[in-house]
Symmetry: C2
Subunit: 422 residues, 2 copies
Amino acid sequence: MSHTVEILSVGTELLLGSIVNSDAQALSRELTGLGLNVLYHSVVGDNPGRLKAAVELARSRADVIVTTGGLGPTCDDLTKQTLAECFGKRLVFHPECAEDIRRFFARMGKEMTDNNLQQAYLPEGCTVLDNAWGTAPGCAFEADGTYVVMLPGPPSECLPMFRERALPWLARLSEGIIRSRTLRVFGLGESAVESLLRDRMNELINPTLAPYAKEGEVELRVTAKADTASEADALIAPVEAEVRALLGGLVYGADVSGLERVVLDGLRERGLTLGTAESCTGGLIAKRITDVPGSASVFKGGVVSYHCEVKAGVLGVSQALLDEKGAVCAEVAEQMAQGARKVLGCDVAVSATGVAGSDPDDRGNPVGLVFTALATPDGVWVKQLNLASQSARRDRTRNLAANHALDMVRRWIAGLDPAGMA
Amino acid sequence: MSHTVEILSVGTELLLGSIVNSDAQALSRELTGLGLNVLYHSVVGDNPGRLKAAVELARSRADVIVTTGGLGPTCDDLTKQTLAECFGKRLVFHPECAEDIRRFFARMGKEMTDNNLQQAYLPEGCTVLDNAWGTAPGCAFEADGTYVVMLPGPPSECLPMFRERALPWLARLSEGIIRSRTLRVFGLGESAVESLLRDRMNELINPTLAPYAKEGEVELRVTAKADTASEADALIAPVEAEVRALLGGLVYGADVSGLERVVLDGLRERGLTLGTAESCTGGLIAKRITDVPGSASVFKGGVVSYHCEVKAGVLGVSQALLDEKGAVCAEVAEQMAQGARKVLGCDVAVSATGVAGSDPDDRGNPVGLVFTALATPDGVWVKQLNLASQSARRDRTRNLAANHALDMVRRWIAGLDPAGMA
């Protein structure tokens, strides 16, 4: 029986919606990877009565409690006191923690106020999780069969504290191993993927196969539990092969962070460089490419030709064409991509032009009409997209357009028809 | 006594950490704005027993339950069935919902599979919240003194469904009105803002004044409760004036979505156009500008000059300068901004060049060293930034660099020293 976990986040700012609970997400991934079974997330405010009730509930329904938040120096920070009380422990002053806190302030060149020393009080007998990323140390203890880990709230502290400090302490609870592999699918909606795979998803127990819709794409996660990583991987492999056989070129990668990464890796392997020419996406494609560390070895640059003057003047799109057909047409997309190849001196360029706003453009082109093009040493391809949906959200339209542009490069690298859809 | 709320999110993907619970954040803001008191968030997986227990718990400790997720067409989608069971209601087929779902698929040009019709079964006697943003309708009902609202999980459906459909139904629960105004501050850290304002924040009860750190900036939220909106606004106004008097040019706007919006509005009023020249930010500045609807009337375009060839070839940065000093220096930033003004034909241009990666560049420039420049008809300014922090994250460095570049434009428009910091 694997251990069950509740992540209990403490902070009124979460309940007011001032911040999103990204700690719960990050810790869930980590704990699941450790083979623990996260059954509950809960959030309560900085209120001792409700926090105490939440702790009692958590210990009644999970055997591992991981708290986030409420370890800081202000009077709102109640987590340690409350947990200690629930588990019948005193708080004890840890001089070495006080020293760490003093050093942290010195290193940041800031003055330490006395209230910071409250952070050095921790439950008696606990394992101190010292905080190299902030001031509040965390702690871990076992009491009456419940394992408790307390972590600070700021995401820049919580996740490294978990990985570097809490994980070694929790490793003893891990029984067997859970491994998963995520196949990423572009070009088919979630319900279509699901209807193709429904029977297999229902049949499969170990590994399981589950779809997750992401904006404009679908993730298929194959998750296996076994005694060792290699046994788990051996369970996953045939299911992965089965999905790939069924979906073919629509599967663009496994355990990859996105289309931009696959495109960069593919071009790098072939020694090719990339450039962009963007109108409606306004820099988003270049931004997504340069989000990836190491993109500089492939990506030379881009032109955001938001106005037609820039399309003509910088990218060399024909002014006569712009006058005649406007900016949103297949020929302009092609000339943008070809222009980018030339101006930026890159091997491969993609472009996007279309209507991302909430109203048709002045030539009556509908919202969501987008052309993406790919220019390569082999030739030029263009794709016409209708990305309209009832919600017609600007960011969604732009993101889908960027996905399609990147997917054209991915398909070209893979030897598929760049403008094709299967 | 104001009503108390629990947000209950249903979905194993949340517990696995596949997605972050952004619905809970968005709904918390909305519910708080309505004067309701959000006391708990909880998350359970797609498991009927645990979901049922969570519903029973929620009704015992809150009088409004808002669920997200689990309304879709697959067999995992258990929310309606379970809630109906907990509150002793049958599920009834709603033909008009089935019609909506059919129409949705037709509009998207997709084929509807039969399982989608499951979404048309809703608890008897409920108010149907029809979904114009997806397929699964929501619903709302009151039973035994508990108010229940069920919303779909995808964030692109959940928030508009709340605002357009659930809010009118919930408005009856709102007592008095809560209004808030958010002052946005750039150029001073949260702890500095807090130490300047701590005494006032502690004194103020209605309105309250609270700081929220956002990446690279601070929001100061003034929140008042009153019988009417105008009474609440009258409570807020003097506190806003006090903060503005104290922080001066560091307050860049109130209730605005970000620096890019302020910059676009300011330039539009003056009839000026904008362009960008980006190296380390890789298109992020242009992307942020074009995220704003209507940006096309101001933003002409940008050049992402990731490689030096593009800096020299497209923007006209001196090759001798690049050879001598490399890409990361004040002069290159200046020439990039000046080049962008010329090449793009815009009145004002900003640039950014620096080291955003996780390692120093090949000239030994440290991570986080960034130069931003502003070129205008009045002259050129440049700012040297050290954006390194203990956890040098690429996205953080890039985002801060973009903020500083945009803030230079904002300060120039406001008549402040563009390269100044107060």
